[in-house]
């Protein structure tokens, strides 16, 4: 599969169809990979694809806006590309999506497959320009059981749970910086006049940061879990991103990155929207 991938990219680079090919290469040991930026055909030999390729490379699209890019995507990363194109952050003509068939990735922290891979319907990528390899989708469909389970808790228990999580948070902003849809050049967390978020790090400030970030990515977050896997202290952010996906589905029947024509839920309205308990 690596060979097939390398040949395809070699071809794209020699034909000058792309300036950059973004894929994966081996990192510090055999259990880790890191994003690789390849510009010449000779350099493609370092590109690989295996079960440790957990990063969502769609992240780099907004950073290399002016270039033509070939992007290696797992099935679950393709919605990111669509979402960014939809938000006019990148033009679809400038990106060649190479779908890599994936049998599920391993979280380098736990060595186990994350939940998204166990119930994955896009192991064989859908909507890519080229596809490499074949894979079989999971037998179980994507579900929101874990979020629904968490929702059953009382608000006091939820508060305690998140307080414990955000006590750990060191506000390194890894979650924000690896998020493909968190591309604002001037994030609210960095605004100093007026200041929204104090530099002082404590559980309350951290919680406010995460609440506002989650609210900002609602209807745009494709639930790719990049933030969850990036967290150096293992805060289960997937519980939040999945909640966003669940709400978008249940309240507005919307799925980010799925339908290119659907309007994002918060940027449109319908005169017949339900009143949702407004007095």
């Amino acid at each position: 599969m690596d060979k097939e991938l390398q040949d395809l990219i070699k071809k794209l680079l020699t034909e000058k169809k792309v300036d950059y090919a973004i894929g994966y290469e081996k990192a510090y040991d055999e259990f880790s990979t890191r994003p690789a930026f390849v510009t010449s055909a000779e350099d493609t030999a370092r590109l690989i694809f295996n079960k440790y390729c957990i990063n969502n490379l769609g992240l780099y699209l907004t950073k290399l806006k002016k270039n033509k890019i070939a992007l290696i995507c797992k099935g679950c990363d393709i919605p990111t590309v669509r979402e960014l194109v939809k938000e006019k952050q990148f033009s679809r003509e400038n990106v060649i999506v190479i779908g890599a068939a994936c049998d599920g990735v391993l979280d380098k922290r736990t060595g186990k497959q994350p939940e998204k891979c166990l119930n994955c319907g896009v192991k064989q990528p859908k909507g890519a320009d080229f596809t490499v390899g074949t894979a079989k989708d999971s037998t179980t469909a994507r579900n929101f059981n874990d979020v629904a389970e968490f929702e059953k808790k009382s608000s006091k228990e939820k508060m305690q749970f998140w307080d414990r999580q955000f006590e750990k948070c060191i506000r390194c902003y890894a979650c924000r910086n690896v998020c493909p849809v968190c591309y604002c050049p001037d994030c609210f967390a960095q605004r100093s006049m007026p200041e929204y978020l104090n530099k002082n790090v404590d559980a309350e400030e951290n919680k406010m940061f995460h609440m506002i970030r989650m609210q900002h990515v609602f209807g745009r977050c494709t639930d790719c879990k990049a933030c969850d896997t990036a967290c150096p202290v293992n805060i289960p952010l997937t519980l939040l991103t999945k909640k966003l996906a669940k709400d978008a589905k249940e309240l507005f029947n919307y799925e980010s990155g799925a339908d290119m024509d659907a309007r994002p839920p918060l940027s449109t309205y319908d005169e017949d929207d339900p009143e949702s308990g407004i007095m």
């Binding site: 968490f150 929702e151 009382s154 608000s155 006091k156 228990e157 939820k158 508060m159 305690q160 749970f161 998140w162 307080d163 609210f188 929204y196 309350e204 400030e205 919680k207 406010m208 609440m211 506002i212 989650m214 609210q215 609602f218 519980l239 939040l240 909640k243 966003l244 709400d247 978008a248 309240l251 507005f252 839920p265 918060l266 449109t268 309205y269 319908d270 005169e271 929207d273 339900p274 009143e275 949702s276 308990g277 407004i278 007095m279």
Partner: protein, 135 residues
């Protein structure tokens, strides 16, 4: 104003065109409501940045009420329709973070509905008090 519940802070974001005038009307009509609510005037509920609601809770508000014109009556034609979509999502997200659903409310109050505004504030205060006392 009377029936104030001690030590309970509710932030009211009222739209300039309907609810703020409605709150005025409450006083003119000699209707009473708990003075726990601290009113902040906003241009339109469509302008209501969710960040400010989150910040209000962060800074210690026990409850938040956002009130605007009835659907179809918006001064800017469509602002409150956007709010009507934002509200259920925000409420659900805040609840997920552990902010009880009794603490965050929205209402439609027109400029002539002074009586309704008093009712809304009474109801919101009772709910927030219920949350504080019974957890």
């Amino acid at each position: 104003m009377d029936n104030k519940v001690p030590q309970l802070n509710i932030v009211g974001f009222l739209c300039n065109w309907c609810s703020y005038a409605g709150a005025d009307m409450t006083g003119l009509g000699r209707n009473t409501y708990p003075s726990n609510i601290k009113v902040i005037r906003i241009p339109c509920t469509g302008r209501m940045d969710p960040m400010m609601i989150i910040e209000a809770f962060h800074n210690g508000a026990d409850g938040v009420l956002v009130s605007g014109c009835h659907p179809g009556d918006c001064h800017y034609t469509e602002g409150n329709y956007y709010w009507r979509r934002r509200y259920p999502h925000l409420k659900s997200l805040l609840e997920h973070f552990g902010i009880d659903k009794r603490r965050f409310h929205a209402s439609w109050v027109s400029a002539s509905e002074g009586k309704k505004f008093a009712e809304v504030v009474k109801k919101v205060t009772a709910e927030v008090k219920d949350w504080r006392d019974n957890g």
